[in-house]
């Protein structure tokens, strides 16, 4: 499988507002601007160095031209607004740089809790977002969030796993979030807490679902040549892929043995010079706990149906989290479940921070390679391998 872009584009800037369940009276554009200024400054650049703007299509997030106007970016030769989750935007920016459409790209992700996420969000008169398209919602809807629960039922049925298998995912993310100052969730979580949590859609409970937040992440991407002028050890994009199978309507997915994640893993493996034995830090998506189990199994860390056992075998009692082979953490920033529902931008940011060796007491010693499995099963499966040069 061809991969001419391998190691040719670097992530040279990261910026985040941090995440909370209520950022107060701030617009998503304000959050995007704060994160973007931080990211551009982090790269040691200014607005005039940016000539590409990619702003992800999150509800109420600024369109790329509005963000560009707000930041006074002089001349832009590439702009776009890819759909979530995170890798669509990063891959678009990467491809634009490699093709010569532009040289240095600002990539923005801005999140705001929707009116139905919380009472304080509902009180904000400016948070108006219609996700229904004018139709009356129905209990039998197979929207993606319900569909993950439905397929979790199938996973439990096929493999006979206890709820604790999912619970370990939630506990791992929470333990990691407690060491991340940007994270929303700040209180410890026990298995007893998990098993007592309110069931929303049986078999999943409140703690199986990511936490809606206010906040923003931004990135600056540029050519590896320019990156080497900025830093001695650029973080480069080694390989990426997205994945889709033909029957991707949520309830028509052929099976848990063949969906978008399998396509991603197959492509990443063929495009990459490194694989699991080289990975120092692993970022499985965790919008729902079942998605995390899927990534662990589908990347081949363990056999199908064994992810719960795998988490138990590699559980580090001292830190209350997973360390594969006593070394490799899963989402050391706390993931979508406990840092906040950034739909993968948090995973990418932490990967960059780890590979720069700037993660403080979360740092994986000598980290060179990060593996990211982003998105779920249906229409947003994607992955990346990032490396430190």
């Amino acid at each position: 499988m061809r991969n001419p872009i391998k190691d040719q584009v670097a992530i040279v800037g990261v910026g985040s507002t941090g995440f909370s369940r209520d950022a107060g009276e701030r617009s998503p554009k304000s959050l995007a601007c704060e994160a973007s200024i931080r990211a551009i400054r982090d790269a040691g650049l200014t607005a005039k160095d940016i000539n590409g703007v990619v702003s992800t299509q999150e509800p109420m997030a600024p369109q790329p031209h509005r963000l560009s106007a707000a930041l006074g970016i002089p001349d832009v030769t590439h702009f776009s607004s890819p759909t979530p989750v995170a890798m669509f935007s990063l891959i678009d920016a990467m491809n634009a740089i490699f093709s010569g459409a532009c040289d240095t790209v600002l990539v923005s992700f801005a999140f705001q809790r929707l009116p139905w996420n919380s009472r304080s969000a509902a009180r904000d008169p400016f948070r108006k977002f219609d996700i229904t398209g004018g139709v009356v919602p129905m209990p039998e809807s197979m929207d993606p969030s319900a569909a993950y629960t439905a397929w979790a039922s199938r996973y439990i049925h096929e493999h006979g796993v206890p709820r604790e298998a999912l619970g370990r995912v939630a506990l791992n993310m929470r333990a990691n979030a407690l060491r991340n100052p940007l994270a929303t969730m700040k209180t410890p979580l026990t298995m007893k807490d998990y098993l007592r949590a309110r069931i929303i859609r049986d078999p999943l409970c409140l703690l199986d679902m990511d936490v809606p937040v206010d906040g923003a992440d931004s990135f600056v991407l540029t050519t590896v040549e320019k990156a080497k002028e900025i830093t001695d050890h650029p973080v480069v994009i080694h390989a990426t892929s997205v994945g889709l199978v033909d029957q991707n309507d949520e309830d028509q997915l052929p099976s848990l043995a063949h969906h978008g994640q399998h396509v991603v893993v197959d492509a990443l493996r063929k495009k990459s010079d490194v694989w699991l034995e080289d990975v120092d830090v692993f970022f499985p998506y965790d919008g729902f706990t079942i998605i995390t189990l899927g990534w662990i199994e589908n990347f081949g860390w363990c056999e199908t149906g064994q992810a719960g056992c795998f988490l138990e075998e590699h559980w580090d009692d001292a830190s209350g989290r997973v360390l594969i082979d006593g070394r490799i953490p899963l989402n050391p920033h706390g993931g979508s479940l406990s840092e906040g529902a950034t739909r993968g931008s948090g995973h990418v940011r932490e990967a960059v921070v780890q590979l720069r060796h700037q993660a403080g007491d979360r740092q994986v010693e000598g980290a060179q390679t990060a593996l990211i499995g982003c998105g779920g099963f249906f229409f947003n499966s994607q992955g990346a391998i990032l490396r430190r040069l």
């Binding site: 919602p137 197979m142 439905a150 929303i200 859609r201 029957q247």
Partner: protein, 149 residues
């Protein structure tokens, strides 16, 4: 017969569906309690939800074809909270949502609810059969347990 009901009137009967010209006649059939699935006249494969061409052979010769309504529960979840609907009271107990694999073809599935069965007894693998219930004044295909065979 509701075959003659115009598209505007049809939309009003199904306020909970984002109808389009590919899907409208499937719902139109429901008004006559006809449970149909899109089938290709050329390769004879079924598919759901309705698409403008057959995904298996690209034929546009598609016919909404009556199916038995018999199948097996493939995915099961119990909503403890969710969207409101007439006859659904989350305060009285969870509401089952079931994806049924229809007997006509492997992986051909239809998602609805199960009636005439306590929610906690709804299980993956359970044999089910079609039953029509009412939703906002229009017929809605649901399922109930059936004797195996």
């Amino acid at each position: 017969m509701n075959e003659q009901l115009d598209d505007t009137a049809l939309s009003q009967r199904f306020p909970w569906v984002r109808l389009d010209h590919d899907t409208k006649n499937l719902f139109r059939a429901w008004l006559d309690r006809r449970f149909v699935i899109t089938r290709c006249d050329d390769c004879r494969r079924y598919h759901h939800p309705p698409k403008p061409v057959c995904p298996a052979c690209w034929s546009s010769a598609l016919t909404l074809t009556p199916v038995s309504g018999r199948g097996t529960a493939h995915l099961v979840m119990l909503l403890h909270q969710g969207a409101p609907a007439p006859g659904v009271d989350y305060g009285k107990g969870p509401h089952p949502v079931v994806t049924v694999e229809l007997e006509e073809q492997e992986h051909l599935r239809f998602t609805s609810t199960v009636v005439d069965c306590p929610p906690e007894d709804v299980r993956i693998g359970m044999p089910l059969e079609l039953v029509w219930i009412d939703r906002y004044g229009a017929p809605f295909p649901a399922f109930r347990p059936r004797e195996n065979g």
